[in-house]
Amino acid sequence: MAAETVSRGFGLGRPGWRASLDIVRTVFIARLRIILRYKFAILGETLLPVVFAALPILLGTAIAGNEQAAADNFFASTSAAGQGTTEFRLYMLLGANTFMVVSLMLWLIGYWVRREQETGTLEALYLTPAKRIDVLAGVTSYTLVRALIAFSTAMLLGSLLFGVNPLSGNFGVAMGYFLLGVPALWGISFFFGALVMRMKEANAVIQLLQWVVSFAMGIYFPVTFFGPVLKYVAMSFPPTLMNDAMRSSLLAIESFYGPWYQVLALMLLAAVTVPLLGYEFFLRTERRIKRDQGVGQF
């Protein structure tokens, strides 16, 4: 379209990849600075999964009478589900930790959108020419680092507390699955962020979905315990795949999803498709909001 007005200034130039990287870096550092100025946030994230894991571990032990009986019970139950293991403490700890990572990565985007909406910084952000993908990359990099810190410290703390060795299985492969599962989490977080932007509400939705996610992921039990419909719904949820892949490699048990190459293929598929779908949904929602009342309306 021909310009209908005079035109000048550096808005005429096209920013390159360096400008994009600069945005990712700046957003990442700003988020990190902000959270470090809330002194107890990271400490809470470290302790929470340990507490989450402690509850079923202690309950299981109490019901069985002692740790060995609890381990035997757990082996019997999980064997029926195709995942026999006596290491119930690591099973729970890993499940609780992965849930914490999933929670952080999913909800941080939603909370971020909501907070920016309330403080007016979302509108300020939309007034800049920065590409949404660059800003989201900055925020998601931050959520990844925050989740990794929480995961590592909570695993270390939990392992010391419950006397388990997290390095007994194939730790490297488990971490590989962890990283491969992250893009799918980003994709879901984009869906969720878009919903929060649209609904202008984060807390109630997050509180509800948090328990649905923990249930669907099977943080304390194999999802094969579910009935057929619920089982396949749960298994099609990418965090369940990630959780199972990490568990199977760390505890040297079978995966519900089949041999390793099937697990890997599914994870790759999720890593590619879910972020693309999530980002597309985010852009469409954003467009719709701009047609309606605007992103700054809160």
């Binding site: 379209m1 310009a3 209908e4 007005t5 005079v6 035109s7 000048r8 200034g9 550096f10 808005g11 005429l12 130039g13 920013p15 360096r18 400008a19 600069d22 945005i23 870096r25 700046t26 957003v27 700003a30 600075r33 902000i34 100025r37 809330y38 403080t119 007016g120 910084t121 509108e123 300020a124 952000l125 939309y126 007034l127 800049t128 020419p129 920065a130 590409k131 800003v135 467009r287 701009k290 047609r291 309606d292 009342q293 605007g294 992103v295 700054g296």
Partner: protein
């Protein structure tokens, strides 16, 4: 003649909201926030946008800054279409739209400027220099390295203003930038706005303060009920009322003073009244008192008159606003402030 740098053509924005009345089902209601707004803002001018609350000012600015998509019509900013080249429109503008909102309170002023500079694609080395320049220009040294949460509202406003300048854009959108600033800071800011304009920036300025609009704006548009109801220079708008300025002179005037004054071009009428003090009061009605005041004085003093007191009563932009909208801006602002206070008290 300067060319337009912002051009709106039949810009229309209709919001659809749900009306909830007790005992009745929800109904969709259309709100016409903008109706066929067309205007040109010229390259290098300070353009004032005045209007009562709910008149459509914010919606117009949001459409022009790409925050909202218009329902129909279109606009160009710096040569870029607002619906098809949004990123390039945004790269062409600096904005201060929400007062001190839009800053991260847990970051310092400097960190905020750096953050938004990156988002505007200002290269890091240029950004650091630009931040230092703005700190000096706006006198931010004393507080720029503290987190924004510790600032006074005036300090937050000035940092928000600095943010709008971080990308050194050719066009600035300033929405009531002096609200909550103390008098000297507001005066300094207006001077900076004038300097920025002299340096070539086009500025779209909204304000509730008529003296600000008169002091800064080359042209002013009054917007009400989603449409532009008056547009022109402040002088043109005042003249459009067809009212006269009245200059009151008190003093000792020889007999033919009235006749001499009536002979001055631009004077419509002169009325003389003898006062108890022995002085005479002359009410001089004219079209533009500023333009001919020196001639009035020359006409009477040339005849040996002694002027002891001059009191001009000019047509103001406030008069224009009242005539066009039926409201004063100050009343409008007070109503909103009262509603806000009531809402906070709930």
């Amino acid at each position: 003649m300067a060319e337009p740098i912002i051009k709106a053509e039949d810009l229309t924005k209709t919001f659809v909201s749900k009306e909830r009345k007790r005992g009745q089902p929800k109904r969709k209601k259309e709100i016409h926030a903008l109706t066929d707004v067309s205007l040109d803002i010229l390259d290098g001018e300070v353009f004032g946008l005045l209007g009562p609350n709910g008149a459509g000012k914010t919606t117009l600015i949001k459409c022009l800054t790409t925050l909202l998509l218009p329902t129909s019509g279109t606009a160009w900013v710096n040569g870029f279409n607002i619906t098809e080249q949004e990123d390039r429109v945004r790269a062409s503008i600096g904005c201060m739209l929400m007062g001190d909102r839009g800053l991260y309170w847990k970051l310092t002023g400097r960190e905020n400027l750096d953050y938004f500079g990156a988002l505007y694609h200002v290269p890091r080395a240029d950004r650091l220099k630009r931040i230092e320049y703005l700190i000096g220009l706006l006198k931010l040294e004393d507080f720029v390295d503290r987190t924004v949460e510790t600032y006074s509202s005036g300090q937050r406003m000035i940092v928000a203003f600095a943010k709008s300048l971080i990308n050194d854009a050719p066009i600035l959108f300033l929405d009531e930038p002096t609200v909550t600033m103390d008098v000297p800071t507001a005066r300094d800011l207006r001077q900076i706005v004038k300097d920025l304009n002299k340096a070539g920036k086009t500025i779209l300025y909204t304000t509730h303060l008529m003296h600000e609009a008169e002091e800064l704006c080359d042209r002013v548009a009054i917007i009400d009920h989603g449409g532009i109801i008056a547009l022109g220079t402040t002088d043109e708008l005042k003249r459009s009322l067809g009212r006269e300025d009245v200059v009151q002179l008190e003093g000792v005037f020889p007999e033919d003073s009235v006749a001499r004054m009536r002979a001055v071009p631009g004077i419509r009428a002169v009325n003389a009244v003898a006062m108890d003090s022995g002085l005479t009061k002359l009410d001089v009605a004219c079209l533009d008192s500023r333009a001919i005041l020196s001639k009035i004085i020359e006409a009477v003093t040339g005849n040996g008159a002694t002027i002891q007191f001059i009191k001009p009563k000019e047509v103001t932009l406030e008069d224009v606003f009242i005539a066009k909208t039926g409201r004063t801006l100050s009343v409008d602002t007070r109503v909103v402030a009262e509603k806000g206070a009531a809402a906070r008290g709930r």
